[in-house]
């Protein structure tokens, strides 16, 4: 599939409240293209609830319901049940939430919906912070990253949401990244064609949150994958299949780049380089990524 094969239709309307260079709208355009207009989106408190813009106008040409921070998957379950009762199972129900709303406060509603076998797609755009409220740490924030609540750098490593999702043994889950739109498109299309609960997580580098130039969103996504900080894979019928550059890294066909190549462009890691290089923490980060890939190889190769 090439870029030109992606549909022309746009359900995201220009002139929204999103920051310039926003990864959320970048991802959303692809998701809208993959699912089309026959969808309902449930959005909890997060940047997207702001990006929608201000009443009585909205930038989304898709029926959207806003709900409390912790309740995306619960809201989606209700909408799905309502549509099912009306015989409208042709409509795709999508919960669209941030990493805070997924890894942290929304995890019980999400786990419940997956366990109840709710027929919906849950999409988490992961910008690794609570960005809407001014950059606080989340369970997805990487080790040593600055946020307003981790001023000397986060002291814990991020959790592996993908593996928590797999423990629910749902029919389909995937990890994607804004830098690979065709891959994201294919994954969302596939999720749409499968009945039952589906989960897709999209790596979404956020310029103001990570402190990098707003023209670099795509580059930061590419580097997240090439350094192995993020992996592209699908989980289907209990089997994990890596794809793209992540597959080459898993197979040992290419070496992952040094994490430094990715984080040195992000102001949130500046304290690891200035005033002098924090060799200890840089080594810890590198070793942690190595450990993750060792586990990936042991489990999924």
């Amino acid at each position: 599939m090439a870029i030109k094969d992606l549909p022309r239709e746009e359900c995201y309307l220009p002139g929204s409240a999103a920051c310039p260079g926003c990864p959320a709208t970048m991802a959303m355009r692809i998701v809208f293209k993959a699912i089309g207009k026959k969808m309902v989106m449930i959005v909890p408190a997060c940047c997207t609830a702001v990006i929608e813009s201000i009443h009585p106008k909205t930038s989304f040409n898709i029926p959207t319901m806003n709900i409390a921070f912790e309740a995306a998957a619960a809201g989606a379950s209700g909408v799905e049940a309502g549509l099912r009762k009306q015989g409208r199972e042709d409509i795709t129900v999508v919960a669209w939430a941030g990493d805070g709303g997924t890894y942290d406060i929304g995890i019980q509603a999400l786990s419940g919906a997956l366990e109840r076998n709710t027929n919906f797609i849950y999409i988490c755009y992961n910008n690794q912070i609570y960005s809407n409220t001014g950059i606080q740490r989340s369970g997805a924030t990487p080790y040593a990253a600055w946020t307003t609540t981790t001023v000397r750098g986060k002291t814990e490593f991020r959790k592996e949401m993908g593996e928590i999702i797999q423990a629910h043994h749902i029919p389909y889950a995937a990890q994607a990244c804004v830098a690979y739109p065709e891959d994201l498109y294919k994954k969302v299309k596939k999720a749409k064609s499968i009945k039952g609960p589906k989960y897709i997580e999209i790596m979404a580098p956020c310029p103001p949150g990570w402190r990098f130039g707003m023209e670099k969103t795509v580059e930061m996504g590419t580097m997240a994958v090439e350094t192995g900080a993020w992996a592209l894979y699908e989980y289907e019928n209990e089997k994990v299949t890596f794809n793209g550059k992540s597959k080459l890294i898993l197979d040992g066909k290419i070496e992952r780049k040094s994490i430094e190549d990715w984080i040195k462009y992000q102001g949130r890691f500046r304290h690891l380089f200035i005033p002098k290089k924090d060799v200890k923490r840089l080594k810890e980060i590198e070793e942690h990524v190595d450990k993750i890939w060792e586990r990936y190889r042991a489990c999924y190769l």
């Binding site: 260079g21 909205t58 040409n61 023209e215």
Partner: protein, 90 residues
Amino acid sequence: MKKYDVRTTISYPTKGAMGKTGNWRVFTPILDKKKCVKCLRCWIYCPEATVIRNKDDTVDIDYEYCKGCGICADVCKVKAIVMERVGEKE
């Protein structure tokens, strides 16, 4: 557009819901159509949907709403788009 008579707050889809966001720009993308190879990278990556994909897969920029992030210039492999500071050429 169909309006709904329900007792809840409903917003309706509108282009420019936050106004003409083109005036947020500090830098403006300038496209050189002669260099463009129609790869559509700028179109697919533009976070604002302000790279317009024409029927023949050439592209144009919607300056009314383009926020000037510079992603289109950054992802263009043949440098058909350059960013210029607003007001530099006037």
